[in-house]
């Protein structure tokens, strides 16, 4: 889906044209939120776990350089080769370089939102490398030539009939077959051949342990393991913030991650990689790409605590009714809205405003990121940096003047009510966005202030 208009409100309006589909999308994600609720309520210590994870991540951010160096040293001792990439371009170059050095032209990938952020697939394809995404949801959006719409559930926006059509077109399944069991079996066979023939596998990193130099990859499908254990070279891409201090911290994070994401107690596979298989290589690419800059932003650095569970998206009433693609960014939803402006404030100026600041996100976040507070603060930064639309600026200035003066406020209020009462067409029309789907409130005969003056003496 190519979006020319890169504005959440416009994209959300398009999304809302099909109300039945919005209901379907909203109910699906709300159901996942409910599964999360059911799972977390089994743990009376849930809030303690969140607080613990939050403090561990605070400690990580306060000693990030130290932990990264410790991780690197321990990983290297185990025979893992460590690379550093300042930005997306450098990351992509390193991946390409590694493939070229081995004469490899085909690679299998498991889910890595970091590589989405770096647009790795596109880069590799442009450089003659075939990349196959092995996570079923990612494979589906890859076939559809779309980006994933959710960081954990890549094709949550797609109906099974649409997936059936894609498989019919690209994988030769019978037309009209939309049975999830059958389609999954088809993907299993199709991707098995891929796993068995690819010499290079790229995975993400859920957690990197500084104390031991190991890293953990969590999947339900087993695709990361199938790729890595059959390849000659396993490349693992990680953001600098994926570090945790000690192996035992995994106990906290693995209890929080999947319950928050899907309501499962744990993913089917939580694989810990320390050393490469004999005769093969493991390469880790540690990527900055704007993270160290975000680390320096006092109000926003906590966004780097994110463990990419997606709970904020599932709970967000705006996300559920606008879809991940309306955020026009690799990471969508509430967490995307506080990460993206750091990367490009102009391009993502709309995202922090795609919210009612209801606060649900902050309260499902397993690491207690103050997401809704950061959304508010980003709004101030964006406006201060000149990215508010001109009309809005003028309206706000006028509002400020009116509301700072009791006389102006009283006059304005009275005038407004007068217009609404005697010339309702002035506001009850297409130019008034409120009026599109809502009636305006009835103007009362007097304001409370006027009533008070008459009925209570000062």
């Amino acid at each position: 889906m190519h979006t020319e208009t890169k504005d959440h409100a416009e994209l959300a309006t398009v999304f809302n044209k099909d109300e039945a589909r919005v209901d379907w999308h909203d109910e699906t994600l709300w159901w996942i939120r409910q599964k999360r609720d059911k799972a977390v309520n089994h743990l009376p210590e849930w809030e303690l776990l969140r607080e613990t994870a939050s403090q561990i991540k605070d400690n990580v951010l306060s000693n990030l350089a130290g932990y990264l160096v410790q991780f690197e040293g321990n990983a290297q001792k185990n025979g893992i080769i460590v690379h550093w990439a300042a930005d997306a371009a450098e990351h992509n170059n390193i991946v390409l370089g590694l493939l070229h050095s081995k004469g490899i032209t085909k690679m299998v990938k498991s889910k890595s939102m970091l590589t989405e952020e770096c647009h790795l697939n596109e880069y590799l394809e442009n450089n003659g490398i075939e990349v196959i995404d092995s996570d079923l949801g990612e494979r589906i959006v890859q076939l559809a030539k779309e980006p994933p719409s959710h960081i954990v559930l890549p094709c949550i926006h797609k109906k099974k009939e649409e997936i059936g059509d894609l498989f019919h077109l690209h994988l030769g399944t019978p037309a009209g077959n939309a049975d999830p069991q059958f389609l999954t079996e088809t993907a299993r066979q199709h991707l098995r051949e891929t796993f068995l023939t690819r010499r290079a596998a790229l995975t993400g990193v859920n957690f990197a342990v500084a104390e031991t130099g190991e890293f953990v990859v969590c999947t339900n499908e087993g695709n990361a393991d199938m790729g890595a254990h059959l390849a000659d070279i396993h490349i693992a891409s990680m953001g600098i913030e994926k570090i945790i201090p000690k192996r035992k911290n995994l106990g906290v994070f693995l209890r929080l991650l999947t319950r928050s994401a899907t309501g499962q107690p744990i993913t089917t596979y939580s694989s810990h990689f320390s050393k490469p298989r004999k005769g093969t290589e493991i390469h880790i690419i540690i990527v900055d790409n704007g993270r160290s800059k975000q680390l320096g932003r006092e109000d926003f650095r906590n966004s780097l605590k994110c463990i990419r569970c997606g709970a904020c998206m599932n709970t967000c009433p705006v996300y559920r009714r606008s879809g991940g693609h309306s955020y026009h960014n690799a990471i969508s939803g509430p967490i995307g809205a506080i990460l993206a402006p750091n990367l490009d404030m102009e391009k993502y100026a709309d995202l922090p405003f795609a919210s009612t600041l209801c606060g649900s996100c902050s309260n499902v976040c397993p690491v207690k990121i103050d997401i809704h507070q950061q959304l508010y603060k980003w709004r101030q930064v964006i406006v201060q940096n000149g990215y508010a639309p001109a009309g809005k600026k003028a309206a706000m200035k006028l509002m400020s003047l009116t509301l700072s003066s009791p006389a102006a406020y009283h006059m304005g209020g009275k005038a407004g009510r007068f217009v609404m009462k005697y010339a309702p067409f002035a506001v009850n029309n297409k130019l008034n966005p409120w009026y599109k789907q809502r009636d305006m409130p009835e103007p009362p005969k007097e304001s409370f202030g006027e009533w008070y003056a008459k009925n209570r003496k000062a």
């Binding site: 809030e47 405003f353 600041l357 209801c358 201060q384 706000m396 966005p433």
Partner: protein, 244 residues
């Protein structure tokens, strides 16, 4: 105690009934209430739109009007939260800080300060209670469904004191209505859809009235109800509690 009555700008202009009910209710409970006539707005519409830097005038006016009171009470969770988190004054920061600690949304004032245990109110109708987000998650007026924590609700416990009232259950007990300040027009499609879904939940459970602590949420839902020709009315919590 001297209580200053803070009435949100849109309540003053469009829903004076909610303000009158708040005033009368407090007076009936023996509170000495004054309404400073030169108040305007808390500044939230500008601040939430990214223009917090333009709220200085509003802030100074607010401090000037309310510094003298022992408590400030408002029939709004959202406005009270905003004052608590964002009121500052160039010249009178101590007053601003003091106001932030003394300002209460109505239902929390009744439960936490006046410690109301019974009311002679009567409202024999089926009522859906909307848990407005800023009051709920910001001021902790009620427990939020996201947390693993014991349930409670200050607005609900006050409503249960009212004779004849039947509080209807809901599918989603604390989902946002979609008003969100300027969001309601800037993201009209999503805002209206969120409101429609909220209203639908109440209607599906037979609510005759929808109530809550924030007139802004109720105004948004009222607009949707009226557009679909529904007979269901919105009513502020104060008006139900004051029904005697």
């Amino acid at each position: 105690m001297n209580v200053g009555l803070f009435i949100p700008c849109y309540v003053d202009q469009f829903y004076p009934g909610a303000a009158i009910a708040t005033l009368q209710l407090l007076e009936k409970l023996g509170v000495n209430v004054t309404y400073p006539k030169n108040q305007t707005c808390c500044g939230q519409p500008m601040a939430n739109s990214g223009f917090e830097h333009l709220t200085g005038g509003c802030n100074e006016l607010f401090v000037k009007n309310f510094a003298e009171f022992d408590y400030i009470v408002a029939p709004s969770g959202s406005c009270v939260l905003h004052i608590k988190e964002h009121l500052h004054s160039r010249e009178h920061e101590a007053d601003a800080a003091s106001i932030s600690s003394k300002i209460y949304e109505l239902s929390s004032f009744l439960t936490d300060v006046l410690k109301v245990e019974s009311l002679p109110s009567k409202f024999p109708f089926k009522v859906g209670v909307h848990q407005s987000c800023h009051g709920q998650r910001g001021l902790h007026l009620s427990q939020m469904s996201e947390l693993v924590a014991p349930p409670f609700s200050k607005p609900d416990s006050l409503l249960r004191m009212v004779k004849g009232i039947e509080i209807v259950p809901l599918n989603r007990i604390d989902e946002c209505c979609g008003f969100g300040g300027t969001f309601c027009v800037a993201e009209e499609a999503v805002s209206a859809k969120m409101g429609k879904d909220r209203v639908e939940d109440h209607l599906n459970h037979g609510a005759e009235f929808i109530t809550g602590v924030d007139m802004s949420c109720l105004m948004h839902m009222e607009g949707l109800l009226n557009r679909r020709g529904s007979k269901v009315k919105v009513i502020h919590l104060a008006e139900i509690l004051n029904a005697y």
